[in-house]
Amino acid sequence: MSSVKAQDRQASASQGADLLPVLRVQNLEVTYFTDAGRAKALDDLSFSLKAGEKLGIVGESGSGKSTLALAMMRMIKAPGRIEGGQVMVGDTDLMALSDEEMRQSRLQRIAYIPQGAMNSLNPVMRIGAQMLDAVKSHVEGVSKAEMVERCLAALESVDLGRGVYQMFPHELSGGMKQRVCIAIGILLQPQVIIADEPTSALDVVTQRQVMETIDRVRTKINAAVILIGHDMGLMAQFVDRVAVMYAGRLVEVASVREMFTDPQQPYSRALIDCLPNLKVKGVFQGIPGLAPSLLRLPSGCAFHPRCAHVMDICRTTRPEARTEPDGRSTICHLFDTGVQ
């Protein structure tokens, strides 16, 4: 059984240290042009991932998590537009590809398991036919038998029997459907897998099964995984690094240990503090205020109206990212040089 062990995770992180990043996102910007004005959903966003590494992206609803996933897949629809930036997978800049090349890259270089993926299966098509569709549209010059074999192998790698190939979606449970979607995601062995809240509709036991499945296929094909979600508990148990997103920016990126033992940015701290634990019963701690509307972002730091450590400079000046040599980055005036 491949349970997600802390030691394993550290080992895989250090192993990847000498490798070049398999994914580099640089200065990615997405704006939605709505009737009410322009909303910058991704604001100059950069990060990188090594092969086999697991990155968690957390944030409240509306912070831009799903926009980031869609932008990396180049699936942003009007009124949204990718305004700039690069998404490098290996040596290829996805933003520079033609539409047809991009279509080929999806699933082959970068796969996306959308939120509520299990509802994305076609109810009147057998699972096998849907998987075959995905292979057919990407691979040429392969016999049908070989393609079928590939689908069956993918189903087996997510712990589903070969019999599932002949079934309809309604014959499967929610967790099984979710695993079918993971199987489709790994059919062509992509280098990067983006999973957008893959388990938010599942109960804890099934959630653990699905996450263990993702972890196992990740090891098998050595893909980098981006896990998007708002469950900090799941992040603590699954990922190597955590990125906290707020109003379209990554306000803190740190290793999972640093994030949980010593969060720096006040918003990450608040997110960690509002987690339930078994030590103090009956204490609920929320984050005061609401996530800001992207149409009317507060001046300076977008978090300043809700921040417990707000200073004068936070109201006027937009903080810039400060990156430490070990890769930890924080966007907060508290850590500006010279400010105590």
Binding site: V205, T206, G233, F238, I272, F284
Partner: protein, 334 residues
């Protein structure tokens, strides 16, 4: 001691098909009593398909039990008519899972509050109705001037869910059925909704049946817990005891699978055994997935009382005192 609500050996079976009838027991022989004088919060927990929502529907009178009775303040709820039925409708309120689906997008959110006021004739004038709305919105921590006159799409999920709680509060209920009220809102907003629910119980004397699959929130809000699996009670008792020291193999698996935000706590020590498709209508429903399954588990296990406030339906504890399923409430802490 009068009971506000009594469920006596309630079962619900869904059947389908005309000729080849197949049946599915969603809730099996479930008994629970809530005391009228001491408002409390009881959690009913379980994974999808455990019969949680069937229980909520039964309690609200939307569906009828196949066997057994649901008694609300001395009257079987399926026999309520006229005035009594209206009272029941007012006194038993619900908050549902999805704060997005319960609003009609064409009306402002006050519609959700003004309809019950009209329907139950709670106010004599418009000004009084407005005062009542202001009062309940303030009680759930919202500012009425921010809310009244707005459309659902202008509000966040957390705000909408709190309006649902406000609507329930408006009718001064005796019992609130909360079916997964926080599973669709952000973690940062969960706290405020749970806090609101707890205040309802503490300050307004409302009993709450909190239905959830999330044991962490259950732990913080409730006093007692009933764990269901495929419609049968697996374990019940004091929430502190059940969550910190689960006894039934199913509860153990459930608690072991919670991803705690604690790096030193290993996730998933126990292996998950895939669910077998064999029909488990006889015997322990967890039989096919249990690592400790024995031959005798093919027969249904009664509840064994392990601690004063903890009981599990498992033969592992057959040296303990056996209790009748109908007396489940006696082991729940008051």
């Amino acid at each position: 001691m009068a009971n506000l609500l009594e469920l006596n050996n309630v079962s619900k079976t869904y059947t389908s098909g005309l000729i080849n009838k197949s049946s599915n027991t969603a809730l099996r022989d479930f008994s629970l009593q809530l005391d009228e004088d001491e408002p409390t919060i009881v959690t009913v927990a379980g994974e999808s398909g455990s019969g949680k929502t069937t229980l909520a529907m039964l309690l609200l009178g939307f569906i009828k039990p196949t066997t057994g009775q649901i008694i609300y303040r001395g009257k079987d709820i399926s026999t309520l008519r006229g005035r009594e039925r209206l009272d029941f409708r007012r006194e038993v309120q619900a908050v549902f899972q999805d704060p997005f689906a319960v609003f009609n997008p064409f009306y402002t959110v006050d519609h959700l509050l003004s309809v019950p006021i009209k329907k139950f004739k709670l106010a004599k004038s418009k000004a009084e109705a407005r005062d009542k709305m202001d009062e309940v919105l303030t009680a759930v921590g919202l500012r009425p001037e921010d809310i009244i006159g707005r459309f659902p799409h202008q509000l966040s999920g957390g705000q909408r869910q709190r309006i649902n709680v406000a609507r329930a509060l408006l009718l001064k209920p005796r019992l609130l059925i909360a079916d997964e009220p926080v599973s669709m809102v952000d973690a940062s907003l969960r706290a405020s909704i749970l806090e609101t629910l707890r205040n309802l119980q503490r300050d307004h004397g409302v009993s709450i049946i909190y239905i959830t699959h999330d044991l962490t929130t259950a732990y913080h809000i409730a006093k007692s817990i009933v764990v269901l699996y495929r419609g049968a009670v697996m374990e019940a008792g004091d929430v502190e005891a059940v969550i910190k020291n689960p006894r039934h193999p199913y509860t153990r698996l459930l608690i072991d699978s919670i991803p705690w935000p604690n790096l030193d706590q290993r996730w998933g020590e126990q292996e998950i055994i895939a669910r077998e498709s064999t029909d488990a209508n006889t015997g322990c429903p967890f039989y096919g997935r249990c690592s400790k399954a024995m031959e005798r588990c093919k027969l249904p296990a009664p509840l064994f009382q392990i601690e004063p406030h903890q009981a599990a339906a498992c033969f592992l504890y057959d040296d303990q005192h056996q209790i009748d399923a109908a007396c489940l409430s006696e082991i729940l802490p008051a």
